[in-house]
Amino acid sequence: MRTILYLIRKEFIQIFRDKFIGRAIFGVPIIQMLILVPAVTFEIRNVNLCIVDRDLTTESRELVSQLEGSSFFKVRFSTFSEQEANNLLHRDQCDMIIQIPSGFGKEIGNGKPGKLLVSADAINAANAQLSWAYLNGVIRDYNQKRVALNGVRMAGTVVPRIEVTSRYWYNEMLNYNHYMLPGVLGILVLAIGFILAGLNLVKEKESGTIEQINVTPVKKHHFIIAKMVPFLIIGLIDLTVGLTIGKLVFDIPFEGSIALLFLGSSIFMIAVLGLALFLSTFSNTQQQYMFTAFFFMIIFILMSGIFTPIESMPLWAQKIDLINPAAYVMRINRMVMLKGSTFQDISRDIYALILIAAGFTLLAVNRYRKTA
């Protein structure tokens, strides 16, 4: 035990000797939280419209003013030339062109459907689909208004109507900050553990100081534990810093128990550190380790479900996610912070994480050779 404590002290001295790293460990997460959390949003605002109104009747103008009134759309241009409109779309000046052909008002007046031509910039498919859905909503409202106006003529047919009311639980306003912050916390911890711990070990190899440890009677598991504990502590401190920022700056609700969140993150951290130390035994230079780490981090993060739901992934990817620690911590963080899930709700994730952490750590202890 005393050996471990001395080793840990040595690690801390080593880490903080480099002033830059000492500052970066705490500074970078703060900056990242402040910049990245609010940046990530899929909410659509300000879809720029170009209107080509060839009709110029009351009906068409009404439709345009209805579009202007919605919070999603901004009528930026209106022109009579289709070519000019296409040009605007081409130059990224507008996102959507709405063409109202002449005769639109007349058709509607006669109770016939009036045609609209919509051209959307669909390079970002998700965005295009959403804007299109919003546009349909506006048109539906417009339709209802017209139907009410024409009500006298349409009377007589009772249409059974199903009223749908919807509510979003745990995040009434669909605030994306609430969605991203638990995920970013997970990524921060992941990055700190993965990069710093692995680099640390490889650096000792590169500069030869590891040989000095190897000739001492320090046991393999002592050495690995001593390498893990400092980064575990740093990671948890970073987590605290991140949580404080979340509370103070973004006013994140915290429904569940903090202890549970820290428990989940600690186990996650051990898994990450174990894997980092395991991978570092394969690398001889910091550069090599960096690329290996980066390779795995990209896969972990993209597959963790931070940006896109795991349920939407193909089945084989979901199977791979069973050994992806980031996928578990993403789920645990969100469930505990936003939904107030209890230990029972997340017990399966916790147990799985423990298994993964134990597995990776054993691998690391096993791979590490004192006779390097």
Partner: protein, 375 residues
């Protein structure tokens, strides 16, 4: 010149000697393209939906069947009371709950009006919005079928949509340019800054500096192999996205490659700049990875459109070169526009390159003098 070539050859040997670096150089872009293409998707598929049916009649049965057979949802538990809702959603398996009011079918036929509620798990805003929208659409469909009216009958305005540039709404159109941008920053900025700081950290830089090679030649020699490798990477990504996803290059290929070269040059000069600032490899890695990589992913408009962010992020991203390169790629690759549409962005990238090179020359010289002074 011969000396310089020898130096370049040495650098190449350094890179090729290590198979890991090579695997990563070409493995990361390939994995990213494939992950983005096959794994990361925003679509709602097979989301588990639970029902709280207070009515239990034929009508509610029909509606729930219709919802579950849509392919978007999969039937979850049948809840018994309102208390169960929280439990179901908290367990994280269930994404949405539908509540039918009492006497749903009776009311619908008798009074012509019945209501149901959709409760979704707002902790995942995207899923929640999508699920609500899909349920609403399915129910609208259902009530239309119920009245036997065709879709057009109730609509006065019929919009017709043309999705420009990407008619089948594929995600690839967005992420292939993004991945190229990201990989270039990674390889050029990160790798060059590491190799140069490595020489500094181990003191071999001094060995190089006292050799008859000029400092400019040393830096160029360090950078040239990465220039070639990144260029190969661009070509590999383009080929991969063409063969696997059938993504065509609509515009001029030469223009595209030329713009890529400019961007590579920009990233390389950024890498050199980082190496003049960082003293150790760890610092270089930290600066390029945390300072460059994450902002590039999140603020360059690659996954998250900049237009949707608060204004201030628009300004922040304005100083990030990747943002401009993505615009160029989108224009040339997908829209098929010519140089006239991207000259502004090209100019901005050139300015960035010039600034980075200028700054690094300044920093580099100062370092040399102080080192000379120490010796």
């Amino acid at each position: 010149m011969k000396r310089f070539l020898g130096f370049v050859k040495k650098e190449f040997l350094h890179i090729f000697r290590d198979y890991r670096t090579l695997i990563i150089l070409f493995g990361i872009p390939a994995v990213q393209i494939l992950l983005f293409g096959f794994v990361v998707s925003m679509d709602l598929k097979n989301a588990q939906i639970a029902f709280l049916d207070l009515s239990k009649d034929e009508m509610t049965q029909k509606i729930s069947d219709k919802i579950c057979s849509s392919g978007f949802f999969r039937r979850g538990d049948n809840l018994l009371s309102f208390k169960d809702i929280d439990k179901a959603l908290r367990g994280n398996e269930t994404k949405a709950v539908i509540i039918f009011e009492k006497n749903f079918g009776q009311k619908l036929i008798g009074e012509g009006k019945a209501s149901l509620s959709v409760i979704t798990d707002g902790s995942e805003p995207n899923m929640a919005t999508l699920a609500t929208n899909y349920v609403t659409a399915i129910i609208n469909d259902f009530s239309r079928e119920l009245t036997g009216l065709s879709a057009g009958g109730t609509l006065l305005v019929q919009p017709e949509v043309r999705m420009f540039y990407n008619p089948s709404l594929q995600g690839q159109f967005m992420f292939v340019p993004g991945v190229i941008t990201l990989i270039m920053i990674l390889i050029c900025a990160l790798m060059t800054s590491i190799t140069i700081t490595r020489e500094k950290e181990f003191g071999t830089m001094e060995v190089l500096l006292v050799s008859p090679l000029k400092p400019v030649q040393i830096i160029l020699g360090k950078v040239l192999p990465y220039f070639i490798l990144s260029f190969l990477d661009v070509i590999m990504i383009l080929l991969l996205s063409w063969f696997v996803f059938g993504l065509p290059i609509k515009g001029n290929l030469i223009l595209l490659l030329a713009e890529s070269m400019l961007y590579i040059l920009m990233s390389l000069s950024l890498g050199i700049l980082i190496s003049t600032v960082a003293k150790t490899m760890q610092q270089a890695i930290f600066i390029s990875l945390v300072g460059m990589m994450l902002p590039t992913i999140l603020l360059s408009g690659f996954i998250f459109p900049i237009e949707n962010m608060a204004k201030i992020y628009g300004w922040v991203s304005a100083v990030l070169p990747p943002r401009y390169f993505i615009v160029i790629l989108k224009n040339v690759m997908i829209k098929g526009t010519g140089f006239l549409y991207v000259w502004k962005e090209t100019l901005i990238l050139m300015i960035f390159t010039a600034i980075f090179i200028g700054l690094s020359i300044r920093n580099f010289k100062i370092r040399l003098q102080s080192e000379g002074g120490r010796r």
